[in-house]
Symmetry: C2
Subunit: 575 residues, 2 copies
């Protein structure tokens, strides 16, 4: 992982070089540093001056557990700011073993030609292949398997990315070579589409696992880290048993489950779509309730969702997906939700953005809340790229504007995820202030507000939320740079020895002597670069706000509004 | 003109009150002061906290010539900033004679009920009238005539305003009771639609002309002012003879005529759509090549455009309309352009925003450049509110985003008018820096750059453009507050005695002793309020920029890019 691959698409022309200024960086630290240094903040996100960076984390490709997260960075066509979208799947491990700390797509092709990029131990091959046009991710991967065998990993866009939709994702294949993991948020797929690249196929056959500088220390740290994850109730029990959808009952019980496009905080149909019901359904149909998305995952929060006939339909839909297409739209049909998850994965769409966009369309009266069939049909339009589909495919904000809707749950034009900020005030602070646009993963205050992980801050009160969110945002920026799955946060927040094991993993691998404070400094430096980029792109404190309705209209059942004051939000980035 | 009428639409409830803090204000000074004082800058433009203000100018309703301009102000759903859209037609004169310095629509109705507001000397009547739903402005006005006789003036929205499209205008009837004058820009029609008001019908029967404090001085000033306008070549000859479309040949000759969505600076079909051809066509078909839009107009820059059979089709399309639907889309068919003008007026749409949106759709490949029939069909979709129509009806910016287009000529999300900033660098400064979003009328540097009115600043060079635009923006803000048509600017810039006559008109009417400097101060104070509002709404210097392509891609035939530096643009509001 000592080189950077650059592909200039106005050619295309390939160049490889040493890390230079970027040495020592990984994941989000790598993508955000390259973007903030090389991309003009006011450039058009789909223009030749934008770049898209794929970077494995610092520990990706090593023997470390949980180190398979990939960062994808660019200027976002959805938010207009900097973006790091983070994905599981195999790509980070494979890229790292192929020796690449980053792949950067630059420039813009002269015409609509579509390209395939193939990378293995022998180098990089770029081929024109217009036969791939408008292929869904599933068909595309089958074609790649036919061409290149089944030892590959794919990073690809579906029709949505080709159509440069702002909700377009980049699909990353999992261990079974299914395009089920996505760098979902912020329209990274549209930027890949604007570069004319349909798929990057990776094959690490013949490449070795990355070797640590201090094998003994690294091995011991990995053991301690593994034990720490196993013993924490969230990563050792809850997530493996029910996946992320274990949250449906929890969040609904807390009255924080945004229902009917954020009109209420509890959904009456929740038992039909909960993680418990989902796991039961999966098991009964011969699917899997527990499954990891990449080599080295020991949490295994995913699963396999089969249809009624027992045939594979999609991976286990995540909590946010089940919420976005489910409760948010008053849809209580798990099969319909799973089908929409499959469609999103196939078209290459962010499930959160799409579910919220459909909810806004429901609010506009285009279809009824609860009408699963109409929602599926609407999603079909997105895949086809009809005018209506293009509206939805460009996200909840555009959908709201086009149909004149007032209640549009977006921050920096990115759709809010599955926790209402009126009942989980800490996550509201994160939504408002993160550099990413509304994003729960940028500082998951739900952990401390609801699950009481890493402390206990009352979710219903404004006190302490800014400090909580600030600390979580800093920690997250650091974790996102290591290649570690964010779910390690539960254990490292609660268990000091597990946090130390993470630091030891980094020190053992790189022969460093970092302390916890150094990790914090890394997180701060990433956030600062991102924030500077956004400021130069025209963002101000006015962009660090929730939509006004959260402060005006109380949410049932707690009848609360978002209480954190603007002046407090404005202190988040002071440290 | 000593009272303000407020209609709270969550009722609706009518209240009238004295001017209070707003005494002495008119037109844009009135609308921008009320909006900046009463509307939260971060509110949703279609929500209950936004207000829409209709204000005649300081001299409207008097015997002064040219004093019939109406200002319509709100927070714009198109730009997200403050908006003053300015219109001719009869409304300003009539409103002023009815005694209203402003009508303010506030709050929001509880449901979709549509209201008619009728105002005459006996007061205000508000009626629910859902039979008006989706009526075009022409049919609507016929209905109002049937109900209220032909002494009325209407301010109304078409289907576009009801659908809350960001390109929706407010139609103002002219002397023949045709809905041909529009407060066009920034989506003011959508805000009126969000208030549930389809039409405000005004009848000033029984009301008197407003009396000056110093009748002698006022009368003398009016005479001198009239003479000044008559003797200036632009207002005395060019505009009466050919209307604003006299510019087509002039601007094309200068290489500043944006063609094919701002891809080149000259249009080969220009002779077919020039003002000269247009006037000839109008006369030959029994229309009018010269016509005033309101009582007291002596410039008479408008006309009547009949179809091939000699039947009224629309008023004489303006230069900007002919350009937007014509040269910008490579359409050289005057009849097709006139039909689109009629459709825009009927649906209630800004012709500039629509023409530019269609050009962007052409760039996206939805229809071919030059295909008039396809353009007309596309416009029909807007009127119907199909998904495709909703995209276009929300403006060029949204159209560009939805279809992933890179060359989208907007500033603050508002479409650029008919002068390419690479060849008329002064107007580029105005587009970039005005509080309004791209707007030629906010500081018409074309006058000095091309017509050499008020001085001579080389249009092809960056030098002097910021100072020119600054002075024009200040002067314009003042003129827009008097109720005077902006076309008086040609004469008052070139002829000191005509400027003095304007000051004397104000002094004679109000019994004041203002100087020219006071007029300048008025303009500055208006701009400052608008700029403060926009800053609080989240605008920064990064919003005071042209799209990047103007600085990157040279325009033929001069092969120039926009040369004014960002740092210079940032000094515009320093005075």
């Amino acid at each position: 992982m000592d080189k950077i691959l650059r592909i200039q698409m106005d050619g295309p022309k390939v160049s490889e070089g040493p890390l230079g200024d970027y040495a020592g960086l990984g994941g989000r630290a790598m993508t955000s540093t390259i973007i903030s240094k090389e991309v003009p903040p006011l450039c058009h996100p789909l223009g030749e001056d934008n770049k898209i960076v794929f970077a494995p984390g610092m520990l990706s490709g090593t023997a470390s557990v949980m180190s398979g997260r990939l960062s994808v960075g660019c200027k976002s066509p959805l938010t207009g700011g900097i973006k790091e979208a983070n994905s599981g799947g195999q790509a980070a491990q494979v890229l790292a073993r192929l020796g690449y700390a980053a792949i950067v797509l630059e420039g813009k092709p002269k015409d609509d030609t579509l390209y395939k990029v193939f990378i293995d131990k022998d180098g990089v091959k770029i081929t024109e292949d217009n036969s791939l046009k408008k292929l869904g991710n599933y068909d595309l991967v089958e074609k790649m398997k036919a061409d290149h065998g089944d030892k590959i990993t794919c990073m690809s866009i579906g029709p949505a990315g080709e159509m440069k939709m702002s909700a377009a994702s980049i699909a990353i294949t999992d261990m079974e070579l299914r395009p089920t993991r996505h760098a979902g948020r912020g329209g990274v797929g549209a930027v890949m589409g604007s570069k004319g690249v349909k798929v990057i196929v990776l094959d690490d056959t013949g490449m070795k696992i990355r070797s640590p500088k201090d094998p003994e220390k690294f091995k011991a740290a990995n053991k301690a880290f593994t034990e720490g994850l196993k013993k924490h109730p969230v990563t050792g029990q809850g997530l493996p048993a029910y996946g992320t959808n274990v949250l449906t009952n929890v969040i609904n019980e807390a009255g924080a489950y945004p229902t009917r496009n954020f009109a209420s905080g509890q959904f009456e149909g929740v038992s039909k779509i909960s993680g418990e019901t989902q796991a039961e359904t999966e098991t009964a149909r011969g699917g899997l309730a527990t499954h990891g998305c990449h080599r080295g995952c020991i949490i295994k929060c995913s699963g396999v969702y089969n249809d009624k006939d027992g045939n594979y339909l999609t991976k286990q839909p995540e909590y946010e997906t089940v919420w976005a297409h489910g409760g948010n739209c008053c849809i209580d049909d798990l099969d319909a939700i799973a089908l929409m998850d499959r469609m999103d994965d196939d078209f290459g769409l962010d499930t959160i953005e799409m579910g919220v966009a459909i909810g806004v369309a429901m609010e506009a009266g285009l279809l009824k809340f609860g009408d699963a069939e109409a929602a599926i049909n609407l999603l079909r339009e997105v895949g086809k790229g009809t005018p209506l589909g293009r509206i939805l495919g460009n996200g909840a904000g555009i959908t709201g504007k086009v149909f004149g809707v007032e209640r549009v749950p977006v921050v920096k034009n990115q759709a809010l995820p599955a926790y209402d900020p009126r009942t989980v005030q800490g996550i509201g602070v994160t939504y408002a202030t993160t550099t990413m646009g509304a994003d729960h993963t940028a500082g998951y205050a739900v952990a401390t507000n609801i699950m009481k992980v890493g402390g206990d801050v009352d979710p219903l009160k404004p006190e302490g939320q800014v400090e909580l969110s600030r600390n979580l945002q800093i920690a997250t920026a650091a974790i996102d740079s290591t290649g570690m799955c964010l779910f390690i946060a539960f254990a490292i927040l609660d268990q000091p020895e597990t946090f130390q094991a993470l630091v030891d993993l980094l020190n053992g691998f790189y022969g460093l002597s970092m302390t916890g404070d150094d990790v914090t400094e890394l997180g701060k430096s990433v956030l600062k670069k991102e924030r500077d980029f956004n400021e130069q792109a025209g963002f101000t404190s006015k962009d660090d706000r929730l939509p006004a309705f959260f402060s005006k209209i109380p949410l049932s059942p707690h009848n609360l509004t978002f209480q954190v004051k603007d002046e407090e939000l404005d202190t988040l980035h002071n440290w």
